[in-house]
């Protein structure tokens, strides 16, 4: 694994861009020839025009900000909470055995069905969105944290014990570094689902945010604008994922590449 060198990058780039253009081109043709109705799939060119327009009038920044704020808060809480709960369940004797069915049950509750309930208890403001983001992320992070921790090598723990590492030190210096790849996998996936959560919440009830303008666009059958917003969210989400990748590589997995 990972024995590839980094020389071919320019050609990779070119290939990626080419593939993207091909896909976009196919869509464009499909729509232009009316093989697919533009009611359902807008031409990419139209989407670009809408994207331009969105950024043109500046309003979009406000919505982007709102959605990002919701995401960051919910995701942050889920990440910290998932890490904490995951660790607690594995590290506290009996906790996993005791809470495992509850965790499974909570994880298993169809979130889509309780989101409206949440609106009732938390209102439809930012708290509501933050909770949805949280719910969309928390379990993945918790479960992966647990898995990662259990993969910690026994002899690594013995070393820490011999040096009488405190519980906190053992967690910070042994367990987390060794669970890092598995935890980061969860953080990566959750970044995507969490942003979807924010959007979902906004689509249910909101006064601003990307989900809000998305609902407006769809209910006015402005498919191109809707796609533009979806594209925007996708880009934002890819950026967040890249950020997480970078964080993992440069902070936690330095040793792998070194």
């Amino acid at each position: 694994m990972g024995t590839r060198n980094a020389k071919k990058i320019p050609s990779i780039w070119a290939g990626q861009v080419a593939l993207l253009l091909v896909i976009l081109g196919i869509c464009e043709v499909l729509v232009r020839t009316e093989t697919v109705s533009s009611l359902y799939l807008p031409a990419p060119s139209q989407v670009f025009r809408e994207l331009f327009k969105l950024f043109g009038d500046g309003e979009i920044w406000k919505h982007l900000y709102v959605t990002l704020a919701e995401f960051v808060a919910g995701y942050g809480i889920a990440a910290l909470g998932g890490l904490a709960v995951g660790m607690a369940l594995v590290l506290v004797p009996w906790a996993e055995r005791f809470f495992r069915p509850y965790l499974s049950a909570l994880m298993a509750i169809p979130k889509v069905t309780i989101v409206p309930l949440l609106a009732l208890w938390l209102g439809i403001g930012i708290t509501h969105k933050i909770s949805i983001v949280f719910l969309f992320c928390f379990f993945t992070i918790t479960v992966n944290t647990m898995t990662g921790i259990k993969q910690t090598a026994d002899n690594h723990l013995k070393v820490a014990k011999v040096f009488e590492a405190t519980r906190y030190q053992t967690i910070m210096k042994v367990i987390l570094p060794s669970a890092a790849p598995t935890i980061f996998a969860a953080l990566r996936i959750s970044a995507a689902t969490g942003l979807v959560g924010a959007l979902f919440g906004e689509m249910l009830a909101s006064k601003d945010g990307l989900g809000n303008i998305l609902v407006k666009a769809t209910s006015l059958y402005n498919t191109a604008q809707a796609f533009a917003i979806v594209a925007l969210v996708t880009v934002v989400s890819v950026l967040i994922i890249s950020l997480i990748d970078w964080l993992e590589r440069s902070v936690f997995l330095k040793w792998k590449s070194a």
């Binding site: 009611l39 327009k53 439809i124 909101s206 209910s219 006015l220 059958y221 402005n222």
Partner: protein, 313 residues
């Protein structure tokens, strides 16, 4: 389909803060119908009718208006009459304060071209949008009037608007209940045609009201009164300035103007702008719901109405 869209963002931005005159505006949070049914309101807002009333309206989109009212995050909502009745009947702290600009269901049963009459739907797949919704009520009643029982057809929840239209277009249903402009669009494109018009069958079934949360009715009833006034003013203005409204409409929606004309014309009769709430109609509505098994009891509507603020004509 036309792909001409001449600028102007889809969702109009509403003025907030202070009115042009500089007077202090009072805040109210209102969730109007989304999409085309709510266009007259946003048109009115753009015209400044709400500011004229001294209101700074925060427009909210929501899929669960009752939850919005109950959680005190929204003050007034547009909502399906039956939803309001059942929720209030089951104890939600909400009151019906007025009828909407129309009270009859603007629903059409459209069928694929080879089907001519409702009777021919026997043994076919019929889209009813969302189970338990007013749309289903209309479908069921239409079928019943034509001698078809629910067992004679397969009901499919095929969602609304584009999705419903697509399900007809792609043959997943043979007929479906649907809103405008899709009925007109189907006719224009030859993908289907209207075989029954909803309100012909259910002239008294009440489909839309404005509801407010109990709190605001106690604390600041005048805001609700102002909102209703601005609401109907917007509706009246839109109705009586069809050309101006059409332009606004076309700015916001990418639609073939011909289809729009057809659609607006067809529904002109429904655009009553009559705020009164007819108790008998509400009871009829409940009766029908109960017969179809959509409601397990009939609620006393007197308790859930608060009609003090109905604007005088």
């Amino acid at each position: 389909a036309s792909s001409q869209n001449n600028g102007k963002e889809a969702a109009p931005s509403f003025g907030d803060g202070e009115s042009a005159a500089g007077a202090k505006l009072e805040k109210i949070r209102y969730a109007p119908l989304s999409g085309v049914s709510g266009l007259a309101v946003s048109f009115g807002a753009e015209k400044g009718f709400f500011e004229e009333e001294g209101l700074d309206v925060e427009f909210i989109t929501t899929k669960d208006p009752i939850a919005g009212l109950t959680s005190k995050d929204i003050d007034v909502v547009d909502v399906a009459t039956t939803t309001a009745i059942v929720a209030a009947g089951k104890g939600a702290p909400v009151k019906i304060v007025s009828s909407m600009f129309r009270t009859k269901g603007p629903f059409y049963l459209i069928a694929s071209p080879e089907i001519q009459k409702v009777e021919e739907l026997k043994g076919k797949k019929v889209g009813i949008a969302v189970f338990g919704s007013g749309l289903e009520v209309y479908t069921q009643v239409i079928l019943k009037e034509h001698g078809l029982s629910p067992g004679d057809v397969t009901f499919i929840a095929n969602s609304t608007h584009q999705a419903a239209y697509a399900s007809l277009e792609t043959g997943q249903v043979d007929a479906t209940i649907i809103h405008e402009p899709f009925a007109s669009l189907a006719e224009k494109e030859g993908k289907g045609h209207i075989i029954a018009t909803g309100w012909d069958y259910l002239p008294t079934f009440h489909t839309g009201v404005l509801a407010a949360r109990a709190g605001i009715l106690e604390e600041k009833p005048e805001l609700v009164e102002k909102l209703l006034r601005a609401y109907f003013k917007s509706q009246e203005y839109a109705k009586s300035h069809p050309d101006e409204f059409k332009t606004y409409y076309l700015n916001n929606i990418e639609i073939d103007p011909e289809v729009l004309d057809l659609a607006l014309k067809r529904e002109e009769v429904l655009w009553e702008n009559n705020p009164d709430v007819d108790i008998n109609a509400l009871n009829d509505t409940q009766q029908i719901q109960k017969e179809l098994g959509f409601q397990d009891e009939i609620y006393k509507v007197e308790d859930i109405l608060d009609l003090r603020f109905i604007p005088e004509k």
